[in-house]
């Protein structure tokens, strides 16, 4: 369990509406600092600059999907150790297992509840090794 309270979140998501809701949820309700990125190809650079405590990835994004982005992160020493939570509309058990196998720290299904989202993330954060 990490020593500090979860505060800095980096979120890669191409849908701007959802970006906005997640940002509002985490900033207003969760009192966290959030950096969002619409272009997955720019995400790694964004992360390196922002230095988040936790990264949230969408699965389906144009240009590069979430799992591929996660693999790319693992290749870079700066981003390799960030815990990653997927937020996805893919709901099947098989897909969830696939993400767990990639080393995802958690999975949040769309639609999620913006009221509960900060607590869900903090729960995952607390359970990290």
């Amino acid at each position: 369990m990490p020593a500090s309270e979860l505060n800095r979140i980096f979120y890669a998501e191409d849908d701007e509406d959802i970006q906005r809701i997640v940002r509002m949820s985490l900033e207003r309700i969760g009192k966290m600092t959030v950096q969002v990125e619409s272009d997955p190809l720019k995400a790694i650079d964004g992360m390196i600059e922002f230095k988040p405590e936790l990264v949230m990835l969408d699965w389906m994004m144009p240009g590069m999907d979430g799992p591929t982005l996660l693999k790319a992160m693992r290749q870079r020493p700066e981003t390799a150790s960030y815990p990653v939570v997927f937020i996805t509309a893919k709901a099947s058990m098989k897909e969830h297992e696939e993400l767990a196998a990639l080393g995802a720290a958690g999975i949040i299904s769309k639609p999620f509840s913006p009221k509960d989202l900060p607590n869900q993330l903090r729960e995952i954060w607390r359970n990290l090794p």
């Binding site: 509406d17 959802i18 509002m24 309700i29 893919k90 709901a91 769309k110 999620f112 913006p114």
Partner: protein, 601 residues
């Protein structure tokens, strides 16, 4: 078609002894018949010679005696004539020849004795010439009996003896040398005659045996011939039946909407039906009887798998069911077919041929793929905008962004609620699709059912409060475990509880009970609603089942909930049902097999 009444009796083997006995009776019957047939001649000769004797001896002084003898001769003759007549009309002459022989022998004895009497009584009282005459007559009568009686040698023997012996006694009494010489010769003649009769008799019997055997042979032959004819008819009928069922079979194969291919044991194509021609684009003539093998119709990638299957099929006579193969068509396009392959094995275990029946499932698979793709797209494309809609509304309704006025709050809540309803509908449709296509995977684990029930009550309390209904568990719930999918079981409980809450009157209670029943755990959810209408009961667990449309509008819901519950409970090897509740309302229940913890913890 042979008339059953004309069917000859089956030839059964008769054991030797019985057969001999039958033969002997038949031979004897023939002998006896010959005796009786010759009887009229014997009687006529006796009467004629009797008259001649009476005429010759008439001049003598013992006329009374002569007439008495004549009357006796006549009586014996008449008696034998009657006997012959009776025999002629008798029904049992073939079955009881021994009785008729005995009767005939008595007649023969009487005749013989009558002549013997003549010799004994008339001989001494007459002149030399008359004595010679009498001796001549008696010798003639004795010898004359030979052709008449020799059919049965001993009948002749008693006849001849009774003619000759009294005469012999009289000659011996008179004591002259000539008489002694005659007396010495008489037994010799008698013996010779009897021996001849015996020989004749033997020849006769052999001849008759031969005849009877021949007759039997003819009978057997006739019987065999009839049987043969009948068998020929049956064979012809069987041939016609085989031909007609063969035609039927050919028709079945020819008109079947599946590909039917007959193969030899080495996989060469013997015959294909029309559908197979259509499917693969080759004609019967191009494939059948050529070196074309079924292997040529299997995609190259699957040759190895196919060879293994074929080897097992031929060696172990193991038929294949639902075997999927990619089969290249003439134009190179690969079809996917599902094959049933059956070896045709004769009684000796040799594979005569192999019948392969194939169904083209290419389109079916494509349809399934499209459906899955559609479902997946539906899932993703509908959820994404719904995430934004519901998320936005929830943020507004959370009050974190500032307060709205009463009307605004009411409307944003309506929007959120209906957004969630739409999401529920999508989830339900996806669930039922998964369940019905067999794609729902359960993740069973050992669950403390009492705790799960309490959790379900807690999760649904908020929903129930909207209808001013309380969810109440009958505590203490027994601590029982089941082996089930936690998430899906919660979904079932949520469905039952929300249904019960929706249909309960305001300020009512939904009661939840749980208990052990046999090897199962029973959970009941009871409401005090208006009950389930009679005409709805049968289809309550069907898809899109709702009592009436006005209800749907009033209560919300997709009408899929119970259908999903039923299938999920069944997948967890349980049962689900409902019953009217005493005092009004409905009880829904489900049962799951109780999990017995075998490991000591």
């Amino acid at each position: 078609m042979p008339n059953p009444s004309q069917v000859p009796p089956p030839l059964t083997h008769q054991p030797g002894i019985v057969r001999d006995a039958v033969d002997r009776t038949r031979v004897l019957a023939d002998q006896v018949e010959l005796l009786y047939r010759q009887s009229p001649v014997g009687i006529a000769v006796t009467v004629v010679v009797g008259f001649v004797v009476m005429w010759e001896l008439n001049s003598a002084r013992e006329r009374d005696l002569i007439f008495m003898w004549g009357a006796l001769t006549l009586m014996v003759a008449i008696g034998r004539a009657f006997l012959a007549f009776a025999y002629h009309n008798a029904a049992d002459r073939d079955s009881r020849p021994d009785v008729w022989l005995r009767r005939f022998a008595i007649g023969a004895l009487a005749t013989g004795v009558n002549w013997g009497l003549a010799g004994a009584v008339f001989f001494p009282a007459h002149t030399d010439e008359q004595q010679v005459f009498l001796a001549f007559i008696l010798a003639g009568m004795a010898a004359g009996g030979l052709p008449i009686f020799s059919a049965v040698w001993w009948v002749f023997a008693i006849y001849a003896a009774s003619v000759v012996l009294p005469f012999l006694a009289v000659i011996l009494t008179y004591g002259s040398r000539l008489f002694y010489e005659i007396a010495a010769l008489v037994p010799v003649f008698l013996a010779v005659n009897i021996a001849v009769a015996y020989r004749l008799n033997r020849v006769f019997v052999s001849a008759y045996r031969l005849r009877v055997s021949y007759g039997k042979l003819t009978d057997d032959y006739t019987l065999m011939n009839q049987r043969l004819e009948r068998q020929l008819i049956e064979l012809e009928e069987a041939r016609m039946q085989v031909e007609s069922s063969g035609r039927k079979l050919a028709l079945f194969a020819e008109r079947a909407p599946i590909a039917v291919i007959e193969l030899s044991a080495d996989g060469r194509i013997q015959q294909i039906n029309r559908e197979a021609e259509n499917l693969f684009g080759y004609s019967q003539g191009e494939l059948a009887g050529t070196s074309a093998s079924i292997r040529d119709l299997v995609h190259a990638d699957q040759h190895e798998e196919f060879d293994g299957r074929w080897k097992r099929l031929i060696e172990e006579r193991e038929s294949l069911d639902g075997f999927r193969m990619r089969n290249p068509r003439r134009d190179g396009v690969s079809l996917v077919c599902e094959w049933t392959v059956t070896p045709l094995v004769n009684a000796e275990g040799t594979v005569l041929s192999v019948i392969a029946q194939g169904r083209n499932i290419t389109q079916q698979l494509e349809a399934e793929r499209l459906k899955q793709e559609f479902t997946s797209t539906l899932s993703h494309e509908l959820r994404t905008p719904l995430t934004s809609i519901i998320g936005s509304l929830q943020l507004i309704n959370s009050g974190m962004l500032g307060d709205l006025n009463k009307d605004q709050t009411e409307l944003t809540e309506v929007a959120e609620r209906n957004g969630i309803r739409l999401l529920d509908l999508i989830n339900d449709i996806l669930d039922i699709e998964k369940v019905e296509s067999g794609k729902l995977t359960l993740f069973p684990e050992t669950i403390a059912l009492d705790e799960l029930v309490r959790e379900a009550l807690k999760l649904n309390q908020g929903f129930a409060e909207r209808y001013k209904v309380k969810l109440v568990a009958h505590e203490p719930l027994p601590a029982l475990q089941v082996h089930a999918d936690r998430k899906r079981l919660l979904q079932v409980m949520t469905n039952l509880l929300s249904n019960a809450a929706k249909f309960s009157p305001a300020d009512g209670e939904v009661e939840v009970e749980m208990r052990e029943k046999g090897g199962d755990v029973l959970v009941t959810v009871s409401d005090r609603g208006s009950g389930i209408p009679e005409n709805f009961r049968a289809r309550i667990f069907g898809r899109f089942a709702q009592a009436d449309s006005t209800d749907t509008r009033a209560k919300g819901g997709t009408g899929l909930g119970l259908a999903i519950c039923k299938r999920m409970i069944e997948l967890m090897e349980g049962t689900i049902g409902f019953a009217n509740r005493e005092g009004g309302g409905t009880t829904f229940w489900f049962e799951l097999p109780k999990h017995v913890n075998t490991s000591k913890e």
